[in-house]
C-alpha cells in the first residue's frame, strides 16, 4: 500500500463540517436519482394507464396526462374476468403459504432438534434438490400431475409450490439457533415433542415464519411458469397468466394493458410494504433463493 497518498497528519483530519455536508447532499442526490431510475417504469405505467391509447407514445413524452382517464380502470374489469383471476391467485397463494409454513416448520423441528438414524442423509436429500432446477424435472412432474387428474386444476399449482425444500432449509437454520436446553427442560417437564413444537419453537420463530410467509406468498403470487404450463381453462387461471392473456387479446390497447398491470401489482405491493422489514432481514440472514 502506498503511504505517500496523504501525509499522515492530514489523514486523521477531523471531518470538515462543510465538506461533509456537501458530501451528504451529493449522496442523497445520488440516492434520489437511483430511486427515480428504479421507479421510472412504474411511473410510466401509471401515467400511461391514465391516458388515451393514442397518447401513450406521444412525442415528447408527457408524464402527467392532459386529462386523467380513470375510466380505464373500470374498463379492464369488463374486458377480462380480472376479479376471478385475483380470487384464484389469492386462494392458491394463501393455501400454499399455509401448507408450506406448517409442514416446513414441522419437518424442520425434527431435522434441527430430534435425533434419529438417517437424519443427515435425509436432510442431504432435501438440500440436493434445492440445487436441481425445477425446469429439469417439470416434464415428468407434469405427466405425473396429469395422470392423477391435477392437470388444469388450481390444486396442481398448490401442490407444485407447497412442498419446497427451501422452506424446510430456512426453518431448520433458524431452529438450530434456538438453544437445545429449552427443549430438554420442556421434555423434563413432561411436554411431548408436539407440545414443544407448538408451545416453544413456533412462538420463538415468529421472525423466520414471517420471512417464509412473505417469500412463499409473493413467490406464488408472481409465479408465471407453473400456471402457464398447468392451467388452460379460463376459470382457473391465476392473475399472471390472466394478465398475459389480457395483453395478448388487447395487444394495441396500451392504456388498458398498463391499467391492468398496475392493478395486478397492488396486492403484492401492499404485502411488501407492510412486511418489508421481515422480507429484507430474511434475505440478509439467509441470503437464499435467487
Amino acid at each position: 500500500m502506498s503511504e505517500n497518498a496523504l501525509p499522515s497528519g492530514q489523514a486523521i483530519r477531523p471531518t470538515n463540517p462543510l465538506a461533509s455536508r456537501i458530501g451528504k447532499i451529493l449522496l442523497y442526490i445520488a440516492l434520489i436519482l437511483l430511486s427515480a431510475v428504479t421507479l421510472v417504469p412504474f411511473v410510466w405505467m401509471l401515467s400511461s394507464s391514465l391516458k388515451l391509447d393514442r397518447e401513450v407514445f406521444e412525442f415528447p413524452i408527457r408524464w402527467i396526462p392532459k386529462t386523467f382517464h380513470w375510466e380505464n380502470y373500470s374498463l379492464i374489469w369488463t374486458k377480462a374476468p380480472m376479479l376471478m383471476y385475483f380470487k384464484n391467485t389469492a386462494i392458491v397463494a394463501i393455501c400454499v403459504t399455509c401448507i408450506q409454513t406448517l409442514t416446513s416448520s414441522f419437518a424442520a423441528y425434527s431435522f434441527a432438534k430430534l435425533e434419529f438414524k438417517g437424519r443427515d442423509t435425509l436432510f442431504l436429500c432435501y438440500i440436493a434438490t434445492i440445487a436441481v432446477p425445477w425446469q429439469a424435472y417439470m416434464i415428468p412432474q407434469f405427466i405425473e400431475f396429469r395422470a392423477i387428474g391435477l392437470y388444469d386444476k388450481l390444486t396442481a399449482i398448490m401442490v407444485l409450490q407447497a412442498f419446497s425444500a427451501f422452506g424446510v432449509f430456512l426453518m431448520r437454520q433458524f431452529y438450530r439457533g434456538i438453544p437445545t436446553e429449552l427443549c430438554e427442560a420442556a421434555r423434563i417437564d413432561g411436554l411431548s415433542e408436539y407440545g414443544i413444537w407448538a408451545r416453544i419453537m413456533l412462538p420463538l420463530s415468529k421472525a423466520a415464519i414471517a420471512t417464509l410467509v412473505i417469500f412463499t406468498f409473493i413467490g406464488t403470487w408472481n409465479d408465471y411458469m407453473g400456471p402457464m404450463i398447468y392451467l388452460t381453462t379460463e376459470s382457473v387461471k391465476t392473475i399472471q397468466v390472466g394478465l398475459r392473456r389480457f395483453i395478448q387479446e388487447n395487444s394495441s390497447d396500451y392504456h388498458l394493458i398498463m391499467a391492468a398491470s398496475m392493478v395486478s401489482l397492488i396486492p403484492v405491493s401492499v404485502v411488501f410494504l407492510c412486511l418489508q422489514r421481515y422480507f429484507i432481514e430474511g434475505i440478509a440472514t439467509s441470503g437464499l433463493k435467487g
Partner: protein, 328 residues
C-alpha cells in the same frame, strides 16, 4: 442369570424407546416429505430416464426406450452444413454448431446472457449498497424503493418495459435526445433483443443482491477502517484494500446464485421476446418448453438434462471453492 435378564430387559426397553423416538421424529417430517418425495424427488429421478425415451404424451405403452438418441439428435450438426464448409476444421464446425443448431444457439445465448448479466448486476448491486450504507436518514425508504422491482410481477413489468422500448417509446426518445440514431422496437431487433432482456433482468434483481451486500457491508469490522485511517490510507485505498476483499465471500456467493439464476432464465425472455426475433434470444429453457409444446417429451427432457448438468457443475465448483474460503 437374573443379571442377564435385567440387561436384556433394559436393552429391549432402550430399543423400543429409540424406536419410539425415531417414529416421533419421522412423524414430524412425514407431511412435508411425502409431498416432497412425490412431486420433486420422483420426478427428478424419472427425468433422467425420460430423457432416454421417445414419447409424445399418448398412452404409456407408446413410450419407447431410445438410449442416448435424443442427445445425439439435439447435438447433431446436419451434414448439409458441414458439406457447405470450405475448410471443415474443428473451429468451423463449432461455428456452425453455435450458429445453426438449436441447442448450440440456446447454449450460446444463455452463456452470452449470463456473462453480461452477472457482472452488471454485481456492479450495480455493490454500488447501490455502498451508497445506501452511507445514508442514515430514510435508508429504509430508499431500500424499499430499490428493492421493489424484485417483488413486482414479471408479466406486468415485462410488458411495461416492452412498451418503453418500442419504436418512439420513451427509452428511444431519451437515447435520441443524447444523439443516438436507433429508433426501432428493441425486442424486434436481433441485436438489441438480448440487451432488452438483460436490462430488465439487472433492473429487477439488483435490489435483491443489494440487500445481501448491505448486510455484508455492515458486518465489516469498523476497526479495520480506523486502523487504515491511522495508517494514512485514503478512501479509495480503503475501498480497494478493505471493503472489496472483505466482501469477496459475499461476491462469490452472489455470483454463483446469479450464474445459476441466469442459466434458468425463462420468464423474462418468454414475456419480452418469446425467444425471438428468429432464434436471437432462444435460451435453454425456452428450447425445452418449445419441445415440450411440440409433444417431444423425450428430447425436452434431454435438453433439461443439459441445463441440469450446467447448474450442477456450477454448484459443485461452489462447494469446492467454499471449502477453500472457509479454510483460509
Amino acid at each position: 442369570m437374573s443379571q442377564y435378564q435385567l440387561n436384556a430387559e433394559a436393552k429391549r426397553r432402550r430399543g423400543s424407546l429409540e424406536r419410539k423416538k425415531t417414529l416421533v421424529a419421522l412423524s414430524f417430517i412425514a407431511p412435508n416429505f411425502i409431498g416432497f418425495a412425490l412431486f420433486t424427488l420422483i420426478p427428478v429421478i424419472v427425468a433422467v430416464f425420460m430423457s432416454m425415451t421417445e414419447w409424445n404424451g399418448g398412452s404409456l405403452s407408446t413410450m419407447k426406450w431410445v438410449g442416448f438418441q435424443n442427445y445425439a439428435r439435439i447435438f447433431e450438426i446436419p451434414q448439409r452444413y458441414i458439406d457447405r464448409l470450405e475448410d471443415p476444421n474443428i473451429f468451423a464446425i463449432l461455428g456452425v454448431f453455435f450458429e445453426k443448431v438449436d441447442i448450440g444457439i440456446a447454449l450460446k445465448n444463455t452463456v452470452t446472457y449470463t456473462i453480461i448479466t452477472v457482472p452488471l448486476t454485481l456492479v450495480c448491486s455493490i454500488l447501490l449498497a455502498l451508497v445506501l450504507n452511507k445514508a442514515v436518514k430514510c435508508a429504509v425508504a430508499f431500500r424499499a424503493i430499490l428493492f421493489f422491482p424484485y417483488v413486482s410481477s414479471t408479466v406486468a413489468i415485462c410488458v411495461c418495459w416492452n412498451f418503453m422500448m418500442m419504436k418512439n417509446g420513451p427509452i428511444n426518445q431519451l437515447l435520441m435526445f443524447f444523439g443516438s440514431t436507433f429508433n426501432k422496437t428493441w425486442t424486434a431487433d436481433s441485436n438489441m433483443a438480448i440487451w432488452a432482456v438483460i436490462i430488465v433482468s439487472v433492473w429487477k434483481s439488483m435490489g435483491y443482491y443489494m440487500v445481501i451486500y448491505l448486510a455484508a457491508l455492515q458486518g465489516i469490522p469498523r476497526e479495520l477502517y480506523e486502523a487504515a485511517t491511522v495508517d494514512g490510507a485514503n478512501k479509495r485505498q480503503q475501498f480497494f484494500h478493505i471493503t472489496l476483499p472483505q466482501l469477496s465471500p459475499t461476491t462469490f456467493f452472489v455470483s454463483v446464485m446469479l450464474v445459476i439464476g441466469c442459466f434458468k432464465v425463462y420468464d423474462t425472455v418468454a414475456l419480452m421476446t418469446g425467444g425471438g426475433p428468429g432464434r436471437a434470444t432462444k435460451m435453454l429453457v425456452t428450447y425445452t418448453i418449445d419441445e415440450f409444446n411440440a409433444f417431444k417429451y423425450g428430447s425436452a427432457c434431454a435438453i433439461a438434462m443439459v441445463l441440469l448438468v450446467l447448474v450442477l457443475t456450477v454448484t459443485i465448483i461452489q462447494f469446492r471453492m467454499e471449502k477453500k474460503f472457509s479454510a483460509d
